[in-house]
């Protein structure tokens, strides 16, 4: 574990973001090129079959919560988000800092979600409908409700980014705390308990909470896009 700083723009978290970004890009490009070359008449085998099944299962799962035209437009974005987050939140298993434990990276996701919702609104509902939504149902309450709705536009993506940030940060803080307690001396028993504590901590905070947070972010993005364009 490296020392943890709350508001540092180019910290280890940003570095590991760039590493994940490059690795995933290369991986996707290679797999995409291989899938393009496949023969559509034959059944695919092995690793490529797994990739195809993954994308297929994802499509089936998300299209339960979204209309078809919206899903066709946002499906690729949502899949990119879930793959990146699932990788990023479990990255500390190989020794890198989880990227989402930096506020800058988390707020980048806030900005992305904000623009995704705005693009969905511009694409799928009219401006008049949007203004109606902002003013609220009851017209004479509009002067009160309009500022509240305007805050709600910003606060929804802000909450999503911040939630993921603090969740990942709490895992990093607790792991750092336990490791610093266990590193007072280097006795045999303490080293052994450090290994087991690390096993438990990383199993719970990285794999379990990390994957759940990635899933929750995906679901909230899906639901917010659906909600913003439905009404």
């Amino acid at each position: 574990m490296n020392d943890f700083t709350l508001f540092d723009p180019m910290s280890s978290a940003v570095r590991s973001t760039l590493i994940i970004f490059v690795v995933l890009s290369i991986f996707f490009i290679v797999v995409g090129a291989k899938i393009k070359k496949l023969d559509p008449k034959k059944t695919p085998k092995g690793f490529l079959f797994g990739c195809i099944m993954l994308v297929d299962g994802f499509n089936k799962f998300i299209s339960e919560y979204m209309d078809k035209d919206k899903f066709k437009f946002f499906g690729a974005y949502l899949f990119t988000i879930i793959v990146f987050l699932a990788t990023a939140n479990t990255i500390s298993l190989i020794g890198l800092t989880p990227p989402l434990s930096n506020l800058g990276v988390a707020l980048a996701f806030t900005v992305m979600t904000f623009f995704a919702i705005k693009i969905a609104e511009f694409k799928f509902i009219s401006v008049k409908k949007k203004v109606d939504n902002l003013l609220g149902e009851v017209k004479f309450m509009a002067p009160i409700l309009f500022p509240i709705n305007l805050i709600g536009e910003v606060s929804t993506p802000f909450t999503m980014g911040l939630r993921m940030f603090v969740n990942l940060l709490s895992g990093v803080v607790i792991a750092t705390m336990v490791y610093s307690v266990l590193s007072f001396s280097l006795g045999f028993l303490q080293g052994l308990s450090g290994i087991f504590a690390g096993l438990f901590l990383h199993a719970v905070f990285d794999i379990f909470f990390g994957l759940i947070q990635a899933f929750v972010f995906l679901m909230l993005t899906t639901i917010n896009i659906s909600l913003a364009t439905d009404a």
Binding site: L6, L162, R163, N167, L169, V173, I212, L220, I223
Partner: protein
């Protein structure tokens, strides 16, 4: 008795800005109380729903995860405020 206790306390411990910041951090994480109650309530209702309708377990699980994450937010804000206060000192 209390006078002696307080007088000894204040003789050894003076009130500093850093100390007040740590005290505030301690108060801020009380926000976890409401979060715990809310999440427990949501989980209990989800268990009830699964008991009543075991076929819909997958959908109930997804809904529960999302609602629990939403309920968790206030407690996380408390934690964030506490961390910021610790960083100030």
């Amino acid at each position: 008795m209390f006078e002696t206790v307080f007088s000894t306390m204040f003789r050894f411990a003076e009130v500093t800005n850093a100390g007040l910041a740590w005290l505030g951090a301690g108060f801020a994480v009380i926000a976890g109380l409401g979060t715990g109650i809310g999440q427990g309530y949501a989980a209990g209702k989800a268990a009830e729903a699964v008991g009543r309708q075991p076929d819909a377990q997958g959908k109930i699980l997804v809904t529960t995860l999302v609602t629990q994450a939403v309920a968790e937010t206030t407690g996380l804000y408390g934690l964030l405020v506490a961390l910021i206060l610790i960083g100030k000192s």
